[in-house]
């Protein structure tokens, strides 16, 4: 059955991100975010007052304060009133909302941003608060422990082993050497077990960072960007929250989202995968049927920089930026949220033929 194509062409026309660091405690969230907002506006020549819709992603649990995203709105010129929305999720989902807003024709441009400061709190413990509050959260299984359960399941299934996981870590940090924003670059020791079978090197760095993207529809996109990264499809799916209900060695939600986004209609040349743990790249490669010819995470991916709530949006931004630069013609971007790849978003981006 043919896939319904979006009724309007919408593209990523600009992408910016911070240098991701272990801590940016000298900056408030809006102070950390603002240079990134100015960056994407400068790339397009737009002013905040030109933006048709603004959408952001962040989490109060990282900040430890209620409605923390409202302070960041100072950075986008929210007075006089603007058309704005927020998701308590990774900015990739904010981008999805902005994309649907542009599809309605109510706006021609959208500013999407997300940020996360993990440095103020104990991130591994903070993330336990997103778990089922009746059966799981009272046990405080931290984010590395849950990823380690998935990694062991993959090892038991013969899908990977510890040397293969280490190779994912090495390749990610090696290619990140060309990514000036990355927090971990080059040779990083694989280290001791954090939660066995995952070692330090299998885990993402904990850090602070922000990202922003500008979307534009139709001709507006061509005016703002020499080679827009057209969103040919985007979809997101979720699986049961019960970890024991799911097959942790597979990601049917990723596969379904990719299918609905049109990822399997033609090969992609680049894939930016949001896999904070090495073992999750193994799952995603399988779910997305990525063959050897695809460049996977040329940015270094989340193993090189994983600002929580921004790392998924960065995958879309990195994929789009490669198209802007002419280094890719058809790219897949993936974002995840929740433990063990619970929720997954896939976008397919294309540049105009050259």
């Amino acid at each position: 059955m043919a896939r319904d194509l979006p009724v309007r062409d919408i593209a990523v026309v600009a992408f910016g991100q911070t240098d991701h660091r272990r801590t940016s405690e000298e900056l408030s969230e809006v102070e950390m975010l603002m240079p990134v907002l100015h960056d994407v506006l400068a790339q397009t020549g737009l002013k905040t007052t030109d933006i048709g819709f603004t959408c952001s992603g962040s989490s109060d649990y990282l900040a430890g304060r209620a409605f923390s995203f409202t302070l960041a709105l100072d950075g986008v010129g929210a007075w006089p009133p603007i058309s704005e929305s927020h998701v308590e999720m990774d900015g990739a989902w904010a981008l999805y909302e902005a994309w649907t807003k542009l599809l309605t024709g109510d706006a021609d441009t959208a500013l999407v941003y997300s940020y996360g400061k993990s440095s103020p709190g104990p991130l591994r413990d903070v993330l336990t608060r997103q778990l089922d509050p009746y059966y799981v959260a009272p046990l405080w299984p931290d984010s590395v422990a849950l990823a380690a359960l998935q990694a062991q399941a993959l090892i038991d299934a013969g899908d990977t082993d510890e040397p293969a996981l280490a190779a994912v870590a090495v390749r990610s940090r090696d290619v990140a050497a060309t990514n000036s924003h990355a927090q971990l670059q080059g040779s990083v020791p694989q280290g001791e077990y954090v939660v066995r079978p995952l070692r330090t090197g299998d885990c993402p760095p904990i850090g602070d960072g922000a990202a922003a993207v500008i979307l534009a529809a139709g001709e507006r996109a061509r005016e703002l960007c020499e080679r827009p990264a057209w969103i040919r499809g985007i979809d997101h799916r979720i699986e049961a929250h019960g970890l024991g209900v799911r097959d942790l060695t597979d990601s049917p939600s990723t596969r379904l989202a990719a299918e609905k986004a049109g990822a399997f209609e033609r090969p992609v040349d680049t894939a930016e995968l949001h896999a904070p743990f090495t073992s999750q790249e193994v799952v995603l490669r399988k779910a997305l049927k990525l063959e050897g010819g695809v460049r996977v995470n040329p940015s270094g991916g989340a193993l090189a920089a994983n600002p929580v709530m921004a790392a998924g949006l960065i995958r879309i931004g990195e994929a789009a930026a490669r198209i802007h630069r002419g280094e890719s013609d058809r790219a897949l971007a993936h974002a995840t949220s929740g433990p063990c790849l619970q929720q997954n978003l896939v976008a397919v981006l294309e540049g105009d033929p050259r």
């Binding site: 408030s28 010129g77 009746y134 405080w140 931290d142 849950l146 359960l149």
Partner: protein, 313 residues
């Protein structure tokens, strides 16, 4: 880079959560050392049980007892337990499929070391000494080499079911207010009010947050304002706040400090509450050693003309 302010920030809450019929039965069962699952339309048994079939989304509540013995389906060795986790000695996290169940339950597995754990190993529930109807009524799992335990034949009906849980949570943060607010708070300790001017619209924000919300640009030029100001609007507070030693009624006001383009909040003292008015001229009162004004009091000047502060109301 000037030293940034930091302070501990503890977020702690006792979430009170109500239980539906299925979760109530499961957690009450744990209190009575009974493990219950729920049967789906296609005959699978889910443990822990949920109220809706994860595949069909149909409501399910056909409770069925399973054994307190089971098999590890995957595991991870946790050599450094963290606060609030089930055991304070090294343990394995494990997904355990109990005998009679088709899905797995997450919990801790008490074992001497990682070499003593493997996928497929047999385990059994170790019950907590004191049980209240919570997932922690299972203290953990422990290795077990016997045959499957026999269910007791329980129906899932309890005389005194629990209907809710209190899910306590505490997270410890270190809060830092960032550059602009650090500068503001430090200046306040010297009894100065320092705002920041927007380079674009020239408005002065107090307290500054590092950005102009109208222009969306960074602010950085520091401007000293006040100390005197004008009450732009106010309210009379009649309810005594917990842990606050202020007699009610008292007045809480918006105060536009001289030179500022945004009003800040403050308590008005030194004047009967029913004589506070818009336009009243006030000045800050610091207590000995205070890092911020305790309240604002009348200066005795004539009231400000409405036109001088109407933009800030």
């Amino acid at each position: 880079m000037p030293e940034v302010l930091k302070a501990p920030l503890v977020v702690e809450f006792p979430f009170t959560r109500s239980l539906g019929p299925v979760q109530s039965a499961f957690l009450t069962g744990l209190r009575e050392r009974i493990v219950l699952g729920v049967r789906t339309g296609d005959g699978r048994t889910l443990v822990p049980p949920v109220e809706y079939d994860p595949v069909t989304a149909e409501e399910i509540r056909d409770l069925v007892e399973v054994a307190p013995t089971g098999t590890v389906t995957t595991w991870a060795w946790n050599h450094a337990p963290r606060r609030d986790q089930p055991l304070d000695t090294p343990f394995a996290w494990a997904l355990v499929r109990l005998d009679g169940a088709d899905t797995a339950l997450l919990h801790a597995l008490d074992a001497p070391g990682p070499d003593a754990v493997h996928t497929g190993m047999r385990v059994r529930v170790r019950w907590a000494g004191e049980r209240t109807g919570a997932i922690t009524d299972i203290a953990c799992f422990e290795p077990y080499d016997g045959s499957p335990a026999e269910p007791t034949g329980h129906t899932g009906e309890f005389e005194d079911p629990i209907t809710g849980i209190v899910a306590r949570a505490r997270l410890d943060y270190t809060y830092s207010p960032g550059r602009a607010q650090t500068a503001y708070i430090n200046a306040l300790a010297d009894r100065r009010n320092v705002g920041e001017r927007c380079p674009s619209c020239r408005k002065v924000y107090v307290p500054p947050r590092g950005a102009c919300p109208t222009c969306g640009v960074a602010t950085s030029e520091q401007v000293e304002v006040g100390p005197r100001g004008t009450v732009t609007t106010f309210c009379i507070v009649n309810i005594k706040a917990k842990n606050l030693d202020i007699e009610v009624p008292y007045v809480y006001a918006h105060i536009a400090l001289d030179g500022a383009d945004l009003a800040l909040h403050g308590r008005i003292g030194g004047i009967p509450y029913n004589q506070v008015r818009m336009g009243l001229r006030v000045e800050p009162v610091w207590t000995e050693g205070g890092r911020y004004p305790d309240h604002y009091r009348p200066t005795g000047e004539p009231d400000a003309d409405y036109d001088t502060y109407k933009e800030l109301v």
